[in-house]
Symmetry: C2
C-alpha cells in the first residue's frame, strides 16, 4: 500500500461537503457508494461502476443504528475501517466518508422519512422500522455528499425501490444506479452477514440461490404458477435443511406487487434464517 | 409595470434547478422565500431581507395540499398568481417558482417527513398532519431550489422550529433566516387568512395581539405566573367576544416546552377561531 493510493478518510459532514463542492466546481462528476463497511466484492463492484462513470468516487461507511431494530445485529455487525480502506484503495476509491454516530444523529435528533407503500410488505413487514432508517440515512448522506450518481446493489432489491421512491418523491438531484448482485462461485450472494455463518451453514446457504435457480428453470420450461414454483423452492430448502423461511415472494419487476403467475419480468425474493443469521436474496426471471 | 421588472415565472422543477445552478456557478448567493401566495406585507418583508442578503431572490408560490387536513381551507385558500407576481416585482424578486400540484406530487407519490417531538404539541395536536406536510414540501422545495438561505416569518413560530429541525436533522445545506412578524397598524398580524374576516371580525381580531400585549405588560411589572397571565388574556378575549379559543401557551423561546412561570425569554402562542377563520399569533416576552 502506498500513501498516494489510500483514499482520504473524512469524518465530518462539513469536510466532506467542502470536498464534493470543490470537485463539482472544477467540473468533476461525483459518484457515491453508500455502505455499512465490512466490504466484499459486491461493494467493490459498485466502486468499479462509479469509477467507470465518474471523476471522483466517494464511499460512505456508516453502520446506521436507525435501520436496525432492537435485538437485531447492530452491535455485532462487523466493523473494520482499516481493512475497508485498503480494499477501497485497491479499486481506486478517492474518498471515504466515515462519520461517527453522533455526527449523524446528534442529541435532539428527531426526524424520520417514511416512503410509504413500497416500504410496507416483505422486509418492511418483518423489519417495521428498517426502511424508515434506510431512507432517512440515505437522504442525509445525499445532502452531505451531493454526488451526481449513487450506486446500490440489486441484492437489496426492496431497498433499491425505497431509495428510488425517496429520491423521486423528495426531488433529490441524484441518479440512482443499481448494479447486479455479485455471487460466490457456488452462487451464494455476497453479504457482510455471510461472515456470521458456520462452515456447515455456509455450505447449506447456497440452497437459497439454488432454489431460485430451480424456480427459474421450471418457469423457463412453462411452469407459470407461483404456488407451484414456491412449493418446489420450499421442497429444495427442506431437503438441504437448516432454514427457517421468512418468505418466498414473486413480485412484478421494479415493484413489490405480488404476482400469482409468472407472465413477464418477475423478481423472486427470498428471506430465511440459517442458525442465527438472516439472509436475503433475489433473482429476476421471466 | 415594465417587463424587465417582472420576475420570471417558472413552473417546472427541471427549469428552476437549472436557473439556480447557473446562478451559483457564477458565484451568486441565492435566497428563497417559500410562500403559498396571497402575498401581503409580511411576505414582502421576507423578500426584502433576501434582497438585502443575496444576489438572486426566488419566491416559491405553492398552495401545498398535504399541509391541509380534510375540512380545512385548501379549496378556498386565496390564489392570484398575477397579483402576487406584481407585488414581487415591486420589491425586486427575480424568479417565481410556481409548480402545479402534479409537478410536486405526481401519481405514485408516497413519501412523508416526520420531524418528531417539536411537531407534536400545539398546532401539531390540532392539525395532526400539518407539519409532516410542511416539512415534506419544504424539503422538496429546498431540493428544487437549492438556495443558500431561506426566509420564514416568525408569525408561524412552530413552523420555523419544524423547518429548523428538519434542516438540521437531514443535513440540508441551507441557512434558515426567521424574520419578525409584520403587523397591521392596529397590531393584527399579517396573514393571508385575514381576507376571510368580515368587517366586524376584522375589528375584533386585534384582541389577539392586544391580549398578548396585556400579558407582556403584566409580566414586565412582575407577574410571572403563566396561569394568571393566561387568565388575563382570556378575560380580555371574552370581553371583546366572538372568539373560540384553541389554545394559549407560554413556551421557552426556540422550543415548544411549556413553562409555568415567565423567568426568561418566553413566547406566548395563541390560536383561536373567529367565525369561520382560524388565526394564530405569537409574541416574545421576558
Amino acid at each position: 500500500m502506498t500513501s498516494t493510493k489510500m483514499p482520504s478518510i473524512v469524518h465530518t459532514g462539513a469536510e466532506i461537503r467542502q470536498l464534493i463542492h470543490s470537485a463539482q466546481l472544477s467540473g468533476k462528476r461525483v459518484g457515491v457508494v453508500p455502505t455499512m463497511g465490512a466490504l466484499h466484492a459486491g461493494h467493490l463492484s459498485l466502486i468499479d461502476a462509479a469509477r467507470e462513470q465518474c471523476d471522483l468516487v466517494v464511499a460512505t461507511i456508516f453502520v446506521n443504528p436507525t435501520q436496525f431494530a432492537p435485538g437485531e445485529d447492530f452491535e455485532r455487525y462487523p466493523r473494520n475501517l482499516e481493512a475497508d480502506a485498503a480494499k477501497l484503495a485497491s479499486c481506486g476509491c478517492d474518498i471515504v466518508f466515515a462519520p461517527a454516530v453522533d455526527e449523524m444523529y446528534p442529541q435532539g435528533y428527531g426526524t424520520s422519512i417514511d416512503v410509504g407503500a413500497v416500504s410496507r410488505p416483505l422486509e418492511g413487514e418483518r423489519r417495521p422500522t428498517h426502511f424508515a432508517g434506510v431512507a432517512t440515512v440515505v437522504l442525509k448522506l445525499f445532502q452531505l455528499v451531493p454526488a451526481n450518481r449513487a450506486y446500490f446493489g440489486h441484492k437489496d432489491y426492496q431497498q433499491t425501490l425505497v431509495v428510488r421512491q425517496m429520491v423521486r418523491d423528495l426531488n433529490v438531484p441524484i441518479d440512482i444506479v443499481v448494479c447486479p448482485t455479485v455471487r460466490e462461485t457456488d452462487g451464494l450472494a455476497m453479504s457482510s452477514r455471510n461472515a456470521y455463518l458456520s462452515p456447515d451453514e455456509r455450505k447449506r446457504a447456497t440452497a437459497l440461490h439454488d432454489s431460485m435457480q430451480l424456480a427459474a428453470q421450471l418457469a423457463s420450461t412453462g411452469e407459470r404458477s407461483v404456488a407451484k414454483l414456491t412449493a418446489a423452492m420450499e421442497q429444495h430448502l427442506n431437503e438441504v435443511g437448516g432454514f427457517v423461511l421468512d418468505y418466498i415472494a414473486f413480485v412484478r419487476q421494479d415493484t413489490v406487487e405480488l404476482v400469482d403467475e409468472v407472465t413477464g419480468p418477475t423478481v423472486i425474493l427470498i428471506a430465511a434464517h440459517l442458525g442465527q443469521t438472516r439472509l436475503i436474496d433475489n433473482l429476476v426471471i421471466g
